[in-house]
């Protein structure tokens, strides 16, 4: 006897997302199928029963059961064509006939391992979405004895240093007629906006998405005086930008694959501006201890040109091969990157937050060459273009306590601020970038860096609840994380840039709105007394008051 059901066949209710379809509303226009980049939909014909009245002479109300073929849109129940919940079908449907629905009984994570392969995806962790920052409040409000400021009226210095800071006793000062002169070289330091657009490469992003962020960065600087900086990510950038005056807003990244640096070096003689900085990426919060991988599917012709590589999977190794110690990294890598721009450009390091981060930071603080210009720590809630899900969800370290630890470690040595601290990983996860920045700063960060929220502003619909996160597939439905020339057209560059500009103008106002009540016009770096926590353990760990 044949079984009534083959339970090993994948069906809709095994998957994370189920298509909810109303054939009565559907006009069969086909837009949903055309727009689904994952080929999760197809037209099928359904056999439908209906009752037809067929009058007979002796029985005028006689009816018969009949069948008809009805064309319908159907979800393909196949792991290779699974619905990812991106909702593009819903977006294009003129009749509200179709939408994806989350399947809370999904078995997908259990069964989606064809050939024994682990799940790979992009985005942030979907498991550790609880945030320390949301349990911290700005509880120290100036009221009577120390008046709060007027966010609209007062001048606020929303700038933070990026570069190696010398202690006052190390400054080459000379006084002539009681006037201080700085005589002799000092490490390069740039005062920048305390929010950096984190490293997302051309390759991970489409050129159009990357360009939109560049445009927003330049616009914020040139039109609004917000000195925001954007990190290139690994992979270089267009020659035209390298030779333009806008290079001054860009932080160039060098990571373990060294992609793009041949073109950067070749462009150096023709650069009219120095870049804002160099960021040496050692590790990444989303997949600490893991390298980078740009799938061959995303290595389009222009990516091959920018990176100087053939079409193949591009692997950035988990470590910088040739560096064996912190000291060596300072001597070899930092020195050579500093020397490349003749010590005019700050060189910083980005590491994944880890139990050992403070040791690394301490070591760098003692570097005798004064050439480490920033310490970027990336927490477990950071995003990525491609990683194993197990890395995203289970490896890494929250950044907040680590940045606090690093600040307090520097403070204990009287070296706070000497190497500016930047915290990243989950910043803007709840779309409150200003609040996140402000709280991290009060805990000791000089600034923060964020990536995901900026592509979300462009139109990325991926989220931390399992929606889409297909940045690694080359099939990004929003045209942001793909190099497919058809898909990238979906992104309107100008509108994307405008969304970022508008959001950042709002962040700028919100930052002031947070500084005003605590009575500060300068960034309250390390002003932990402005914060309280509604969680006892968080309060204890961060050394701030517990309140309830």
């Amino acid at each position: 006897m044949e079984a009534t059901v083959k339970i090993n066949e994948i069906t809709q209710n095994d998957l994370d997302w189920k298509i909810c379809y109303d054939s009565e509303r559907c006009t069969r226009c086909g837009k949903c199928i055309a727009t689904c980049t994952f080929n999760a939909l197809e037209m099928q014909v359904e056999k439908r029963a209906y009752t037809a009245v067929e009058p007979e002479l002796d029985n005028p109300t006689a009816h018969k059961r009949k069948f008809k073929a009805v064309p319908v849109v159907k979800q393909i129940s196949d792991l290779n064509h699974k619905c990812v919940g991106c909702g593009m079908c819903e977006k294009v449907c003129p009749n509200e006939a179709i939408k994806p629905e989350r399947n809370i009984d999904s078995r997908e994570a259990l069964i989606n391992h064809p050939g024994g392969s682990p799940i790979k995806r992009g985005g942030r962790t979907n498991l550790s979405t609880e945030r320390t920052l949301d349990k911290i409040k700005v509880g120290r409000i100036s009221q009577m004895t120390d008046p709060s400021l007027d966010a609209q009226r007062h001048t606020f210095d929303l700038k933070t240093p990026f570069g190696r800071i010398l202690g006052p006793e190390e400054l080459p000062t000379k006084f002539i007629d009681d006037e201080m002169k700085i005589e002799g070289p000092t490490p390069p330091v740039r005062w920048i906006y305390p929010i950096i657009i984190g490293d997302m490469s051309i390759g991970a992003l489409s050129t159009r998405a990357w360009e939109a962020i560049c445009i927003a960065t330049a616009y914020l600087n040139e039109k609004h005086g917000i000195q925001i900086r954007m990190c290139s990510g690994e992979g270089g950038m267009p020659i035209k930008l390298l030779k333009s005056k806008y290079l001054k807003y860009m932080i160039l990244q060098i990571a373990s694959g060294h992609f793009g640096w041949n073109r950067i070096i070749k462009a150096m003689p023709e650069m009219v501006e120095d870049p804002a900085g160099i960021l040496i990426k050692i590790g990444q919060g989303a997949k600490p201890g893991d390298g980078g991988l740009l799938m061959a599917a995303k290595v389009a012709k222009h990516i091959q040109e920018i990176r100087g590589v053939p079409k193949s999977d591009l692997l950035s190794p988990p470590n910088h091969q040739g560096l064996y110690s912190i000291e060596e990294s300072v001597q070899k890598m930092f020195l050579s990157m500093n020397a490349a721009f003749q010590f005019r450009v700050p060189v910083a390091i980005k590491v994944a937050a880890s139990s050992s981060s403070v040791s690394v930071y301490n070591n760098l603080l003692r570097d005798p060459y004064h050439i480490v210009g920033g310490f970027f720590m990336d927490g477990i809630q950071g995003g990525t273009g491609a990683a194993h899900q197990v890395s995203l969800d289970h490896t890494g370290h929250p950044v907040i306590s680590k940045v606090r630890d690093a600040y307090l470690a520097a403070t204990a040595q009287g070296k706070q601020g000497r190497i500016p601290l930047f915290a990243g990983g989950g910043m803007g996860m709840t779309y409150d970038l200003a609040a996140d920045a402000f709280k991290a700063i009060c805990l000791g960060a000089n600034g923060i860096f964020a990536g995901k929220i900026f592509i979300q502003l462009l139109g990325c619909i991926g989220n931390d609840n399992g929606r889409c996160n297909q940045c690694n597939t080359g099939l990004c439905p929003t045209g942001i994380c793909t190099q497919d020339y058809r898909l990238v057209q979906r992104l309107d560059i100008d509108k994307g840039a405008e969304a970022i500009v508008n959001y950042m103008l709002n962040v700028d106002t919100e930052l002031k709105k947070m500084m005003a009540p605590i009575g500060n016009s300068s960034l309250p770096v390390g002003r932990s007394d402005a914060l309280v926590s509604v969680d006892k353990d968080i309060a204890s760990k961060l050394q701030i008051p517990f309140v309830c």
Binding site: G167, P168, M180, W191, S522, R527
Partner: protein, 372 residues
């Protein structure tokens, strides 16, 4: 808001003048303490100008601790002691200590001919050690140990404190050319004597009012800068430590104190010529954690007795500087000045702005330096 004041005069003055200066400025219910630092002493202390003077208050046991400790440290030759005459009265509202002492010592033999840097280090070490010792048993407080400097601090109603020590009666025994004084207005009832300004460290005296909103930043930075930067019972101590650090340790001229605590906004720095820009940026980078962010008025007195005042960068606290040519006053409110310098020309009173340091030299010249 604490009322603060300072008087500098060509002629030695009595503390009663400082009390008069503060009297009309009293407001509110609290007035929880009183502190005074006198520098460049005359009267009974005039013969001992170059000898270190220990100002303290203690229990009977504390007296023994202090005597034994000073002996052990080589300060065996106490050459003068002033015990202020006290006048207890009914309804006295302050927490008095059993004993108040002002002892002048000869330097120990090993310090007698030592360079000044060695002496000042030894004097500081001695005070810090003594303070620690007294704190262990809770038997006393030591406020200053320095040549030509007298300090008195108490908790309670300032007028009563003045009356108890008979400071309202103008006499010729205790006089000085510089007085810095505070009538404490504190909303924090858990106060200790060390929290009362003026504070003193190695010749530097400072009092301030308002809140130091960057107290935690300042404190965390200062803790590792110098052995004398301790206590932090008041957020205003940070202002003194920064002054000491900039002027004494880094040996930068006084205007740079202002550049450190209230740096110019970037938009102002960016308008300056390149060399100036560079130095101001470097200061802001290196000493970011010593910035204050208001609201404060500061009155300071340097080792060479230059007296000055400056404010936070938004000028959120009042201050006035007034002079009759012989005596100059810096204080919170003009009503106090009217009481002590009624015959001055009030049109010449100075209300310093947020970017100024107004300083008074020993010959009563008023110098104004603008941060730019």
């Amino acid at each position: 808001m604490c009322r603060i004041g300072a008087i500098k005069s060509l002629n030695p003055i009595h503390p009663s003048m400082a009390l008069t200066l503060m009297l009309s400025q009293q407001k509110g219910h609290d007035n929880s303490g009183f502190a005074i630092v006198m520098k460049d002493l005359y009267g009974i202390f005039e013969p001992y100008k170059d000898k270190p003077l220990l100002s303290y208050s203690c229990t009977e046991k504390g007296k023994t601790i202090i005597e034994e400790f000073m002996m052990e440290k080589g300060f065996s030759k106490k050459i003068f002691r002033w015990e202020p005459p006290v006048k207890p009265f009914k309804g006295m509202d302050f927490a008095k200590m059993p004993f108040y002492g002002f002892d002048v010592f000869n330097y120990p033999d090993n310090l007698m001919n030592a360079p000044w840097e060695t002496k000042e280090d030894a004097l500081l070490d001695t005070r810090l050690e003594l303070r620690k010792l007294l704190e262990e048993t809770g038997d006393g407080f030591v406020f200053s140990f320095w040549p030509d400097v007298l300090t008195l601090k108490e908790i309670g109603n300032p007028n009563h404190i003045g009356e108890y020590f008979d400071l309202w009666t103008k006499r010729d025994d205790i006089l000085s050319k510089n007085i810095v004084i505070q009538y404490r207005q504190n909303t924090n009832y858990e106060i200790v004597r060390y929290a009362a300004h003026p504070f003193f460290l190695q010749g530097y005296t400072l009092c301030a009012n308002g809140e130091n909103t960057f107290y935690v930043k300042n404190k965390e930075c200062q803790k590792s800068l110098h052995k004398g930067y301790i206590g932090f019972e008041s957020d205003s101590q940070c202002f003194l430590y920064t002054l000491h650090y900039i002027h004494h340790e880094l040996k930068w001229p006084l205007p740079y104190y202002k550049h450190v605590i209230t740096p110019l906004p970037f938009e102002d720095i960016d308008k300056m010529e390149a060399e100036k820009q560079k130095s101001l940026y470097k200061i802001r980078e290196s000493l970011a954690h010593l910035e204050i962010n208001g609201p404060n008025t500061i009155i300071g007195l340097l080792p060479d007795n230059l007296m000055f005042t400056c404010c936070d960068s938004k000028k959120l606290r009042p201050v006035v500087v007034a002079s009759d040519g012989v005596t100059t006053v810096i204080t919170s409110e003009v009503c106090g000045v009217n009481d002590v310098l009624p015959n001055r020309d009030p049109e010449k009173d100075i209300y310093p702005n947020e970017r100024e340091i107004v300083a008074i030299t020993n010959d009563m010249e008023i110098k104004r330096w603008k941060q730019q």
